[in-house]
């Protein structure tokens, strides 16, 4: 086989893995948009906040220690204990649920019935707010996140492909774990939405707010539930991205990577988020591989958007989005 083709295959495989990571972020968007019509720009910052909280709890840091020290002149930084990873994850989930309560009770309860653009702006405000809180709470230096996920090159794949093509593919173990986790997460979410009472309520609200309200479903509860779920998905995305590239500010920018995925897959479709993520992941990896060197590289900043844009011109509701029916 020609060498270029083998390289392209490796790039494609890695693109698929990256695509899964994009899908993880996009999932959180879809959950909230479906159930409440809120386009949640803060999803990326939620992932950052979740990852920082997880690291902070694991290392036994005192929240807001910088602020406390600045105000009271004290010198506290650490509780002096280490929390095991699993317990820390559980505690972080609790924090995210608390955050969901806060968001619903303090912000979106007062914005019911506003125009979508106003809700969108509110989530941008929320993103700024949360980013500031996260930095105040845990400090802004770069952290490494270690919850015991395998990392580094997968030797089995390396060897097998070497035997087949005479060239070993570099596939990160972490990406494989991420793929499995994403698959489990999606299966879990679908099962939850299909087979539990709360999941049915969630789907009812997504279909029609007023009809759901009239059969006795509490909108407030469903929205808190959805924000908690989105917080959980953000935590998973935060763990994966944090383990990959460290917990730092740029983690919140993965929201910007998830937006074209959403456009492509449709804002309201969970399978769309997955398929869109895969297409974008492969597309941008291959484009950077084949065309990137000719035009200066770093094309992955915009390629996804342009791809999604071209795509939307032919199918304005995305791949799996609900058909847009307009009435006057």
């Amino acid at each position: 086989m020609p060498e270029q083709l083998i390289f392209a295959m490796e790039v494609t495989l890695n693109g698929l893995m990256t695509g899964v990571m994009y899908s993880l972020v996009a999932l959180g968007f879809v959950l909230i948009f479906k159930a409440s019509g809120i386009f949640n720009y803060a999803q990326g910052v939620m992932a950052l906040f979740a990852a920082m909280t997880l690291v902070g709890i694991q290392e036994g840091r005192v929240p807001f220690s910088h602020l406390i020290n600045a105000i009271f002149g004290t010198e506290i930084y650490d509780f002096g204990w280490d929390v095991p990873a699993l317990l820390a994850i559980l505690l972080t989930v609790l924090v995210m649920v608390g955050f969901a309560f806060f968001v619903q009770k303090v912000i979106f309860k007062h914005l019911v019935g506003q125009e979508p653009i106003i809700l969108f702006m509110a989530t941008i405000g929320l993103a700024y707010f949360l980013e500031g809180v996260a930095d105040l709470m845990w400090g802004s230096e770069i952290r490494t996140l270690d919850v015991g996920l395998p990392q580094g090159i997968n030797l089995a794949i390396d060897e097998t492909t070497f035997n087949w093509f005479g060239y070993g593919f570099f596939i990160d173990n972490l990406d494989i774990v991420a793929t499995i986790v994403a698959a489990v997460l999606v299966a879990g979410l679908v099962a939850f939405a299909q087979y539990t009472k709360q999941g049915r309520a969630m789907r009812a609200v997504a279909d029609d707010h007023q009809a759901a309200l009239s059969v006795g479903i509490s909108l407030n509860f469903v929205w808190i539930l959805v924000w908690s779920l989105a917080g959980f998905v953000a935590l998973v995305a935060g763990i994966m991205w944090g383990a990959k590239s460290g917990v730092q500010f740029s983690l919140s920018l993965i929201a910007l990577k998830a937006l074209p995925v959403l456009m492509l897959g449709g804002f309201t479709s969970i399978p769309g988020a997955i398929v869109g993520g895969l297409i974008i992941g492969v597309g941008e990896a291959l484009f950077e591989f084949s065309v990137g060197p000719l035009i200066g590289g770093a094309t992955e900043n915009w390629f996804a958007y342009v791809l999604a844009l071209l795509f939307l011109v032919f199918r304005p509701q995305g791949l799996f989005g609900e058909k847009i029916i307009e009435r006057v």
Partner: protein, 358 residues
């Protein structure tokens, strides 16, 4: 008592349709203009100009531009930073390629170039609507910033990848470059603000503006009664981009002087201008000014209160600033989703009746 229509008789159609129907407002308007043109340049100093007044004026133009697109025509755009970059780089290329050209022409030409680019990126709006369009405009943001970063022709192959504004004279005094005095820069920006906001006000209440608003309120219905959506949407994109381009040009040539594109025109700039428009009030020229003033003033005030008064470390104040800006935005949206302009309208309603309650 003094703020009322009574006794102010309108005898012509033009008088009936004027922007400020109340005599007091007209006097106030001329007074503000007088102070801005003749008083402030005499008393202005470096700090006031660079921290507040010049950025306020420049961002006001950008906010009016985005307000035309988002507030009047209903097309949400997150590409403002990218279009400002187009204005800035067009100015730079024109300044270095045509050394004899005066700054007003250069700035206006930069606006026109940006308008062209805006129309190009506005084309998808004919097919895509709502949030899909908002995300699609991000394509403009990222693509434009990338191209200014990667194509050396745009920054004249300079080693740093930055663009620097050379010195240009107008009426014998330098307008751009390190030797330009602040009152000159201030007046230069102010001139653009006055002319452009006059243009914007008259466009938005004319037939073009009414077409935009028809599209915003319900595009299909507007199409049925004979508004051409192609024309309305693309003119909105063109004129909005013209304003934004002029603002980017001024930001580069008279305010920053040296620009690194990812830093100066990144996505945070798009959000900043969008915040100005939302907090100021969608679909209001006054709101654009109020929003720009608010967003320019806020970090300055926070810094003065946090660092100078309480003596907290700068990094904590910076993080607190995020918290407070975010919190205030959410607070404003909850209390008054129609922005400062709506508060202003309510205040005027109250004033007309004052001191009687009904």
């Amino acid at each position: 008592m003094f703020y009322r229509e009574a006794g102010d008789f309108k005898t012509t159609y033009a008088a009936d349709n004027q922007t400020f129907p109340i005599a007091f407002d007209r006097w106030r308007y001329w007074a503000v203009l007088f102070v801005a043109v003749f008083v402030i340049p005499l008393v202005i100093n470096d700090y006031w100009a660079n921290a507040l007044l010049i950025p306020f004026l420049i961002y006001a133009i950008a906010a009016i531009g985005l307000n035309i697109l988002t507030g009047y025509c209903g097309q949400v755009s997150l590409g403002t930073g990218g279009f400002m970059a187009v204005g800035a780089y067009a100015t730079y290329k024109l300044m270095t390629a045509f050394v004899w050209m005066d700054m007003v022409t250069i700035t206006l030409l930069s606006g026109l170039i940006t308008a062209g680019v805006g129309v190009l990126f506005g084309l998808p709006s004919l097919r895509i609507k709502g949030f899909y369009l908002a995300v699609a405009t991000l394509a403009a943001q990222f693509f434009l910033v990338w191209i200014f970063n990667r194509v050396p022709w745009f920054y004249n192959y300079s080693a740093s990848g930055q663009i620097n504004a050379p010195e240009r004279m107008m009426f014998g005094v330098p307008v751009t470059g390190p030797n330009a005095e602040v009152w000159v820069k201030y007046l230069f920006a102010l001139g653009f603000v006055i002319v452009l906001s006059w243009v914007a006000r008259n466009l938005t209440r004319g037939s073009v503006g009414r077409q935009w608003m028809a599209i915003r309120d319900m595009d299909i219905a507007a199409e049925i009664i004979g508004v051409n959506p192609l024309k309305a949407k693309l003119t909105a994109f063109a004129i909005s981009s013209f304003f934004v381009g002029v603002s980017g040009a001024l930001l580069f040539s008279i305010f920053l002087g040296a620009v690194e594109v990812g830093e100066a025109f990144g996505i945070s700039k798009s959000f900043l201008v969008l915040f100005m428009v939302i907090i100021g009030g969608l679909g209001s020229i006054f709101g654009s000014f109020a929003g720009a003033a608010f967003m320019v003033l806020l970090p300055v005030v926070l810094k003065i209160v946090g660092v100078d008064m309480f003596g907290w470390p700068t990094d904590i104040v910076q993080h607190l600033q995020f918290v407070i800006v975010g919190g205030l935005i959410v607070f404003f949206l909850i209390v008054e989703p129609h922005g400062l302009a709506q508060l202003w309208r309510l205040a005027k309603e109250k004033l007309r009746l004052w001191p009687f309650p009904h």
